[in-house]
């Protein structure tokens, strides 16, 4: 999966959780939880969404690696 695919997946998952968000306004190294005001449930749903759309297991221990867009790109890339 290249970066464009991953960004599209992230945008699609976030659209379900925070529909008002424009991903283009978020820097790659920003903490998504702060930038998008995601609470614990939102972030868990974000991880569930990535899991469903990519088929990746994403063990709980890896979840902190998904806090930023850059992290998601590295992890899923």
């Amino acid at each position: 999966m290249d970066a464009t695919d991953i960004r599209a997946i992230v945008a699609a998952v976030l659209a379900e959780i925070a529909p008002e968000v424009d991903l283009a306004t978020i820097a790659d190294d920003e903490d998504l939880r702060d930038a998008l005001d995601l609470d614990s449930m939102d972030f868990m749903n974000f991880v569930v969404g990535l899991h469903h759309k990519t088929g990746r297991d994403i063990p709980q221990a890896d979840v902190p690696r998904l806090y930023t867009l850059a992290g998601v790109l590295r992890y899923l890339g």
């Binding site: 008002e20 609470d39 449930m41």
Partner: protein, 366 residues
């Protein structure tokens, strides 16, 4: 004939706007069926009927109606239909085919207008009623929550609370080492959609503790405490864009942790897009608020009348703690209670906090 009236979907609701009927005259309804959508300042609520019977008349859509206004007239069991022609043996004439088809469709054939001889209800009449019911099914686009209205509603309820309820406050610190470790192990080998949030443990611990201190689970009404018919904590959900709702998690103490997680996920989703049920708005017997991993370290809530208590959990933080005469860094959680002095004292409130703490030290029993 019984009246189905506009329910009070919270202490602060005065009127609601009827925006959709999900049933047609002639439909057989059971207590708990969602029959209408009512728009309130907390968004569109799916209203459940509290009667068993057959719908006879419906109020028109689009009007703001006060709490208590008649929404529908319902013929309850044993009553004969008023509108349908009543023949000899006090029974509407219904063709056997119509009766059978109506049974399949869950319609009451006797309540339908009949087009056959002497007003008899025919198969065609039943099919027509079913088609009409079908046509009414697609939901209109739900309107989003108006933040200004939501703020007004919160202001009204909280002002009433602070005016009428003599609050007392208690706080204590809960060691979350056991609960965190248990949760970590539980989540480690599960796929993301089966993992639990710490919030679920907090909710279950509170519900379990309320079994031991039922005096804080219920409502203050007409100058006296009334115990809740079950343990139905309202779970406080912050809405994106501002505002807050706290719908009921029914019988929380009897649900497994996995069931509670599913329930919370579903409630959060429906709180945001609309579609909370009327029972979820009216049934909470206490409120639980958890600030989560990015919130403040502690919270002292304001009681939502007519409830008599609110339990608060802050953000878990690692702190140095005295353990067995030494010092260890362990995750700590600020637990708080605001309760109504007309109903209880700090002594009882302290028992609730102690019971919640005990439950969290034994996570495998939750």
């Amino acid at each position: 004939m019984a009246d189905f009236t506009m329910p009070a979907l919270g202490a602060d609701m005065e009127t609601g706007k009827l925006v959709q009927w999900l049933v047609r005259p002639g439909a057989r309804v059971r207590r708990g069926d969602v029959v209408a959508v009512v728009e309130t300042h907390k968004g569109a609520i799916d209203v459940e009927i509290f009667l068993d019977g057959v719908i006879e008349q419906l109020a028109p859509l689009g009007e703001d109606l006060p709490v208590g206004a008649v929404l529908a007239r319902v013929r309850t069991a044993g009553e004969t239909p008023a509108a349908a022609p009543v023949m000899g043996a006090s029974r509407a004439r219904v063709s056997p085919a119509a009766r059978r088809r109506a049974g399949e469709l869950d319609l009451d054939a006797a309540g339908l207008p009949g087009s056959g001889a002497e007003g008899a209800v025919t198969l065609a009449d039943v099919e027509r009623a079913a088609a009409a019911r079908q046509a009414g099914a697609p939901a209109p686009a739900r309107r989003g929550i108006d933040p200004a209205q939501m703020r007004q509603a919160i202001a009204a309820a909280m002002a009433r609370s602070k005016r009428e309820i003599p609050h007392y406050y208690l706080g204590s610190s809960v060691d979350m080492q056991a609960a965190s470790r248990w949760l970590e192990a539980y989540n480690a080998d599960r796929p993301p959609d089966q993992r639990l949030l710490p919030a679920v443990l907090l909710l279950k611990a509170t519900a379990t503790a309320l079994r031991q201190v039922p005096q804080l689970n219920g409502w203050y009404e007409d100058g006296a405490f009334r115990a809740g018919p079950g343990i139905h904590p309202g779970w406080a959900i912050a809405l994106r864009g501002g505002g807050l709702v706290a719908p009921a998690v029914h019988d929380a103490e009897r649900k497994s942790l996995a069931q509670l997680m599913d329930t919370l996920r579903d409630l959060v989703q429906r709180a945001r897009i609309g579609g909370l049920r009327s029972s979820e708005m009216t049934d909470p017997t206490i409120t639980v608020t958890s600030l989560g991993e990015r919130g403040a370290e502690s919270v002292f809530g304001v009681i939502y009348p007519p409830q008599v208590a609110i339990v608060g959990f802050g953000r878990m933080v690692p702190r140095p703690c005295a353990v067995d005469g030494g010092v260890q860094v362990r995750p700590q959680l600020a637990l708080s209670l605001a309760a109504d002095h007309r109903v209880s004292d700090g002594h009882l409130g302290g028992q609730l906090l102690a019971a919640i703490d005990r439950a969290l030290q034994d996570p495998e029993t939750l």
